[in-house]
């Protein structure tokens, strides 16, 4: 086995694990679309509005959140979230409203449940896998003679 390549693969797996869902969230710091309504008067509601719309997928342009998208459907959904917030609905009620109509796919961070275990577990599996590979390669190398001409 080629040690250097294996070690690189291990590192890549580690990185992929670390950047998994967290990385996707970090990447979401894009420009926000402005609606005709302007901001909500209550800053607490406005903060919730921003958080919720960032976590809802725009189904027309499937890798954008409805907070980021200019598509009409996204604007309609933002209006919906806004109205539900003003009506005093909880975050859960809003997410349930959306998943009842569009399915789990509409949520960028799906709840942890049996069928989403693989999504949430994948980063840890990747880290574990990378760790095992690096450990084995390191151990293999430590057994090589010092004037290493192999590989």
């Amino acid at each position: 086995m080629n040690c250097r390549r294996a070690a690189a693969f291990g590192l890549a797996a580690l990185l992929a694990g670390a950047l998994g869902p967290g990385g996707a969230l970090l990447g979401a710091q894009t420009e926000r679309v402005l609606d005709a309504y302007g901001q909500l008067d209550d800053p607490v509601l406005q903060a919730r509005f921003e958080r919720i719309t960032l976590q809802l997928r725009c189904l027309v342009c499937q890798n954008e959140s409805i907070a980021d998208s200019n598509v009409e459907l996204a604007a309609d959904l933002r209006r919906q979230v806004r109205e539900m917030l003003i009506a005093g609905k909880s975050d859960d009620a809003i997410f349930t409203f959306m998943t009842d109509r569009y399915g789990e796919f509409v949520r960028f961070s799906p709840p942890v449940e049996p069928k989403t275990l693989l999504i949430w577990g994948a980063p840890f599996i990747m880290v574990l896998l990378g760790g095992i590979i690096i450990y084995r390669v390191a151990r293999q190398r430590s057994r090589l003679p010092l004037d290493d001409e192999a590989s």
Binding site: M1, L59, V60, Q62, E72, L73, D76, L77, Q80, T99, D100, R101, Y102, G103, E104, F105
Partner: protein, 179 residues
């Protein structure tokens, strides 16, 4: 042993993954509707041609019907229009239109020029009915049974083949089930 088995297992895993992922018949943007088997959302809207007329799907209780979501801005809707006209000719089930994100004048013109396959067309002014139905594009075509449950949703332009293979058997089954 591992040296041989591990790459082989990885290879098999990739074959399975690609067989699923690269299947040209799979529309990667089509999503299963959570509405299937659930009561169809009710709407009461105005008719697109005659704004004084009310179109409500509550009145359709007891019969199987098709709801077709379209708009004049939607190129694929024009593409499927011929198929819808042919389906309407069969007089098998009523087709209700839901005109989405549109303007009345344009919609009227469309129906006059291309023909009207719909029993009635509801005008969804602000997209709320579309949200209730989980619509995210057009055309989308729903099949609703006599108990007012959503049986099936098809996303993409309707074709005679889809109608024959996906809709007709379900309509027959719904009617046998005593709708």
């Amino acid at each position: 042993m591992w040296k041989f088995l591990l790459p082989f297992a990885a290879f098999i895993a990739l074959v399975v993954l690609f067989a699923f992922g690269l299947n040209p018949n799979r529309d990667i943007h089509a999503l299963p509707s959570p509405l299937i088997g659930k009561p169809a959302p009710l709407f009461t809207l105005t008719d697109v041609v005659d704004p004084t007329r009310i179109v409500s799907n509550a009145a359709l209780r007891g019969q199987v019907y098709v709801l077709n979501v379209w708009g004049t801005w939607c190129v694929a809707c024009r593409q499927e229009h011929e198929a819808l006209l042919a389906i309407a000719q069969q007089r098998l089930v009523p087709i209700i239109g839901l005109d989405y994100m549109d303007e009345r004048d344009k919609a009227k013109q469309w129906l006059e020029q291309l023909g009207n396959p719909y029993m009635a067309v509801a005008f969804d002014t602000d997209g709320r009915t579309a949200i209730d139905w989980g619509v995210y594009g057009a055309p989308e075509t729903f099949l609703v049974d006599g108990q007012g449950r959503v049986l099936y949703k098809f996303i993409s332009p309707m074709t005679p083949e889809i109608w024959e293979h996906e809709f007709l058997p379900r309509i027959a089954a719904a009617r046998r089930g005593g709708a």
